[in-house]
Symmetry: C2
Subunit: 350 residues, 2 copies
């Protein structure tokens, strides 16, 4: 029998993380009788929502009547700036190390019912500008500035108001540390950036491309783990950090973010839950623009839904203890997303 | 100010996986207004439950009227034995590789309302014996045999009947591959098994020990990620695989499993959800008992609940993109579990 990637199980290598994913496309036939999620619903605006313009937060501070984006310190930060440091480890198996940092919340829009696909391109551009401001400021002091959005109750997001978080840390966290190592090893071996080389191939193959404009492309990575995972990659100039983006790249990014999220929402006709975030070259004292040619800036969208607005992929058991596993292939996911409308959001249909 | 691990954030190193976890104990004060889970409830036995003795499964096969454990092939396996192989990769960034394997389901007990903490020690011993049989058989052909239990709807478990799964694969999955490397590097450097050395220290420190009998100890690892994560470690003879266990070790294991799970259920007075599984030296053709002195067999319990039967820890956003983060310290978790009764299950209280 001839091998068909849409029918026959195989494993795929993720060169950014030096790990493999098990692809079992025949498993799409499996019926589901397990836990279903509450459908992501339109919640009526909560008058006590601490993220809205003018709200009194639990810290006793009041938000201004902001009209665009608004950033404030997380009232329950996982990382504090100024804490005593743990002692030097005495045993190689019991090592702890200092961790300093800061956590901020960034509202995207004053309207609690807004989401990225429903916002205007100009409004999304303001989000991008503020991400860059934050990275500019926090990147001076911190090695890593993680910008991320948890969207939807299923992703542990406790507030539907459109917002993201920014956690800056004095240490390089695991995921970017591994990505830094893998990209740096590839660069040493081939003299090119891993993701620049990868992108070149994907533009030839085309089968995993979801969307493309003159500045950006949205791809389901060859090694995607989540059913409809995508990666946003810049097409021009190989920016290493968000702070490297040109005006055209910022505009193109706002456009592709709106379109990709319109597709996502149209896929299962729901406000599509996910965690998304940015990965670029590390920051901190001593780093300078252009110093990390092994890096290519990219965004990741990691959405859990598998079959419908209420059925998600569980990363449990085999996945936690052995290896991640996916049912539909990345190429099948890309095709399904390509087939979704990117211009008219299901809520705005006539 | 003096550093206190119960108050001040820090990162801890996991030498088994070469990664770090962020510990932010001050964050326990955070209020929670996000998604809550349905409390794990006692479901009435489903007459169509395909796992019960005598049931007709969707494959058209009928279960025998089994009275103890019962193993059958998973009707929707992620791994099949006989599939065509993908072609050799042509590009280093687009690598796929063959994956063969088999997936089985193992019922622990004919009674659908049973769970490990409610089963008799002798019945749990039969589960352990069957695990060993399975490993003995599948370990001949397969490099890795992952025994794991997904328990509770929150863990994607579609059937409350007490059961686990066994996925055997022709490849060494990511998690055991990394653990194999880390233990082997430690062994090369120090001449001892990493986990044997670790255990020695933990027995001295005592603060992360939850339970101990003459053969086994249950510990919240120094680098635990999940709020009430534990590890079961054998005290004697450094077994490398489940197949190495002595009769006394099997009996002691059944006892400590019953007691640990009784504590878990008593913690939030619910049937405690988790994924659990076994990690030991790889198997497959050419492996022999005692050939992997860098390995120490251990079980992992990975439970998601954080504050109550309905509030779990979400591993999203920062965790997915940067690094896992925990609120209460492993020592605090161990103390809370120590304080729970291990003999009388809350359902059997007078
Ligand atoms: O037990 P099931 O229903 O086969 O499936 C469950 O466990 C598997 C192995 O951990 C996961 O791949 C699935 O996502 C999960 O739903
Ligand atoms: O957004 P929140 O409520 O602060 O918290 C959420 O995101 C954090 C960062 O990803 C996670 O650590 C929490 O587990 C999650 O509930």
């Amino acid at each position: 029998m001839e091998f068909k990637s849409t029918e026959h199980q195989h494993i795929r290598y993720n060169p950014l993380k030096d790990e493999w994913v098990l692809v079992s496309p025949h498993r799409c036939l499996r019926p589901w009788s397990g836990q279903t999620e509450a459908a992501p619903e339109d919640q009526p605006p909560d008058p006590n929502n601490p993220l809205r313009a003018g709200a009194l937060r639990s810290s006793g501070k009041r938000n201004p009547n902001y009209t665009s984006t608004y950033v404030f310190p997380n009232d329950f930060p996982a990382l504090l700036e100024d804490v005593p440091e743990p002692p030097e480890p005495e045993h190689p198996l019991f090592q702890s190390a200092p961790a300093k940092g800061t956590c901020r919340v960034m509202c995207f829009h004053p309207d609690s019912t807004m989401t990225i696909p429903l916002m205007k391109v100009e409004e999304i551009q303001e989000v991008i500008e503020e991400w860059i401001n934050q990275l500019n400021e926090l990147g001076q002091r911190y090695t890593w500035v993680q910008i991320f959005e948890n969207k939807g109750a299923i992703m542990g997001c406790s507030n539907p108001h459109p917002h993201c978080q920014i956690w800056a840390s004095s240490f390089l966290p695991n995921e970017p540390r591994i990505k830094d190592r893998c990209q740096s090893e590839y660069y040493a071996k081939y003299g090119n950036s891993l993701l620049v080389d990868y992108l070149k191939q994907e533009l030839k193959f085309k089968e995993r491309i979801v969307l493309k404009n003159s500045e950006w492309v949205a791809i389901v990575p060859y090694w995607a783990v989540w059913p409809y995972e995508t990666m946003l990659l810049p097409l021009n100039g190989a920016p290493q950090r968000l702070t490297d983006l040109s005006p055209a790249q910022k505009k193109g990014l706002a456009e592709i973010m709106k379109q990709l999220n319109t597709k996502y929402d149209n896929l299962f006709e729901c406000s599509f839950p996910y965690s998304m975030g940015w990965h670029g070259a590390p920051t901190g004292p001593g780093t300078t623009p252009g110093d990390s040619p092994h890096w290519l800036l990219h965004a990741l969208y990691l959405p859990p839904l598998l079959r419908s607005a209420t059925i998600k992929k569980f990363m449990v058991g085999f996945e936690m203890l052995a290896q991640t596993q996916r049912d539909l292939t990345p190429e099948q996911a890309a095709k399904r997303l390509r087939d979704c409308d990117h211009l008219i959001h299901y809520k705005n249909r006539q």
